[in-house]
């Protein structure tokens, strides 16, 4: 349902994406792993056109776009059908928890406030935040912020969820609560793309693992293929150092 | 629209006041930074009583326009000086205080209140973890200050210090009210003597903007050069 071809992007002189190809089928839960700085975050941002690739194409169901000829309606169509959960949460700081979840529904989807409120309550309940509805972000812990971000993403009923290291800004004790929510979301059948450093977790929830290295997809396969029999030497080295810690 | 025969001689006239202006600005800059640093240290170290006094001082000098402070100094400083001199038994006619001295004292008093903020901000930008590290290694307070804090605090303060220098340059323009001749006062004099007002003022505008450009970009360069080391 989502297909990226030959994505290239550089910041100034540093080439970050060197021709990434990636296709995701409906219902897939794909984990993207790889060393720091290889462009995982950048890749996710490309899908929502938050960064401007130099070249490449994207196809999202019937919506197609060549990044060399960006097209406002295509960008907006893709944005509306995907939802992103950020490493740094990026919850709107001037809104309460429930406003954060309702606002996109009211502003972008033009739902009535009542309808938006009902949806927001449901999703916030799902992530376990029913008792924090009227708190401002500055009054919440990292785990609560991230769950707000997830609820906001879920509320818009996206076709694809994009998670960018959703637990890496969290204290160790808070990681568990967010991982539980993500597990719940992915196992409910929603198509997901997840960048993560939690190898064990990736192994548990994904049906596909993509290993990125230096701006390209260096390995791609089932969890068993990737973790138990890594064919690529860089991948083997990476897994070694990641697992050594844990 | 403008008479080119006037522009060039005017330019020379007004440029003539630049060195004096810079010199006075430098003096005020140095004095106010010293006083401001003392104030900032008082607040940083939380010295009781003195701290309240510093806060009161800052409120007073930030609340009152500089022109008024200048006039107050103009009328109040000479008798005050004379009084103080008499106290220590010196025969001194305070009214002989030259106006530029009055101006420097008044502006130093005003700007010190702001310099205190600049220095305090720089001190606060110093992360206390390094102080913890230094103490745990056995550094004394003075060693920490000299070897670690000061070098970093100075770099952190550079942009604000450049800014305060420009503020002082501009504040000197208020000196014309008590006839201290800086760039602005000179442009006014030049204009009054040949009746080409706008021309003289525009020349002064350009001079101020050029100086500001040089000062801020110079500071940026210095900061960028030192930034790697902090």
């Amino acid at each position: 349902m989502l297909e990226l071809k030959d994505l290239r992007l550089s910041y100034g002189n540093t080439q970050v994406l060197n021709g990434v190809d990636l296709s995701v089928k409906r219902g897939d839960v794909v984990s993207i792993i790889g060393p720091s700085g290889t462009g995982k975050t950048t890749l996710l941002k490309c899908i929502n056109y938050l960064v401007k690739p130099a070249s490449g194409t994207i196809a999202f169901d019937k919506v197609k776009m060549d990044y060399q000829r960006p097209d406002k309606t295509a960008v907006q169509a893709i944005r509306l059908r995907t939802a992103m959960v950020f490493q740094q949460f990026n919850v709107f700081k001037n809104m309460t928890v429930i406003q954060n979840v309702m606002d996109p529904l009211v502003v972008v989807q033009r739902k009535s406030r009542d309808e938006a409120r009902a949806i927001a309550l449901k999703e916030l309940n799902r992530v376990g935040l029913s008792d924090k509805l009227d708190s401002y972000p500055s009054q919440l812990s990292g785990g609560q912020l991230q769950r707000t971000g997830i609820a906001r993403a879920l509320a818009i009923k996206p076709d694809v969820m994009l998670f960018d290291e959703p637990t890496s800004s969290l204290d160790p004790e808070l990681v568990g609560e967010v991982l539980r929510v993500i597990k719940d979301v992915t196992s409910s059948g929603i198509t997901s793309l997840l960048v993560t450093h939690e190898m064990q977790f990736a192994k548990n929830i994904s049906n596909r693992i993509v290993f990125m290295d230096r701006g390209v997809v260096a390995a791609d396969g089932s969890p068993a293929e990737i973790f138990d029999a890594p064919s690529n030497p860089r991948l083997a080295q990476f897994l070694n150092s990641e697992l050594a810690i844990q | 629209m403008f008479d080119s025969e006037v522009l060039l001689p005017d330019l020379w006239d007004i440029l003539g006041a630049v060195p004096m202006t810079l010199l006075m600005a430098l003096a005020i800059f140095v004095f106010s930074t010293i006083v401001g640093s003392l104030f900032a240290m008082v607040e940083y170290r939380r010295i009781t009583v003195l701290r309240e006094l510093v806060v009161a001082y800052k409120v007073a000098f930030k609340g009152v326009p500089m022109v008024i402070v200048i006039f107050l100094a103009y009328y109040g400083l000479p008798p005050a000086l004379q009084f103080l001199a008499a106290l220590v038994g010196i025969e001194f006619n305070g009214h002989l205080t030259p106006n530029w001295v009055t101006l420097i004292v008044a502006l130093t008093a005003c700007v010190a209140a702001f310099q205190a903020e600049v220095v305090k901000g720089a001190l606060n930008s110093f992360d206390t973890g390094q102080a913890d590290a230094a103490y745990s290694l056995g550094y004394k307070r003075s060693q920490l200050f000299r070897r670690v804090m000061l070098p970093q605090v100075i770099v952190a303060a550079i942009p604000d210090l450049a800014n305060s220098f420009m503020v002082i340059m501009k504040a000197l323009s208020l000196g014309f009210a008590i006839e201290v001749v800086d760039i602005f006062a000179q442009s006014q004099l030049t204009a009054a003597l040949n009746f080409y007002y706008l021309e003289a003022f525009l020349i002064a505008v350009v001079i101020y903007m050029v100086i500001a450009y040089i000062v801020t970009h110079g500071a940026d360069r210095v900061e960028a050069a030192l930034r790697a080391r902090t």
Binding site: - | P78, H95, A177, E179, L193, F195
Partner: protein, 243 residues
Amino acid sequence: QDVRNIKIATAAESKPLSWGAIGVEPQGYEPDVLKAINAKLPQYKFEMEGAADIAQETGLATGKYDIATGGYYRAPAREKQFLIPESPIGASLIKIYSRKDSGINEMKDLVGKKIVPVTAGGGIYKFATQWQEQNPDYQIEITASSAGIPYPDRLKEVQNGKYDALVLPSNLGEQTVIDQQKLDIKASEPVAINNTFVLIHRSEENKALSEDIDKALKELKADGTLAKLSQKWFGEDITTYMK
């Protein structure tokens, strides 16, 4: 017949010559003379407004004001810019103010003395530079200033020794200040006499105005009105110096 409104800028801070800023009825010698002129010229209606010095000349140049008064002297630069009637509106006697024990009586005595800075481009500045040109043997030190420090302060500065002498037109009420504040200051005999004029915005229409005012001033001087007003405000008759 149409009555033409004439906007006049008068000096705001030169008691007793003329004072009173926006919202305050101008008073003093010049406003009184202007009223007397208006009485003779029913085809005009004078509207006086106190304005700061700086506002006067620009306002006059752009035509915002038709007339400006404020003890102005005749100067070539002004004659080029403005219309100036033949007859003076008043005269100012330039005197030197110094401490009673200073021994300063005339310009020559000012050599080596500290003189209060004079207004840049003003009449005293012109007078002093001219005098210097004519008397190159006596080097006196004159600095120009654009500051608005009021002259009563200047008198005090002479008194307390910051300066030795103040050169100033004598029609600004100096004697009152000296008496009131019991200053130990004396005025010299006049070192120069300057006639003062009204300045008129240069335009075709105003040429007639200039002539009318000139005529009125001549009459007022002849019938003794000016002398009377001078006595009222300055305590002396300055018309004897007007020519």
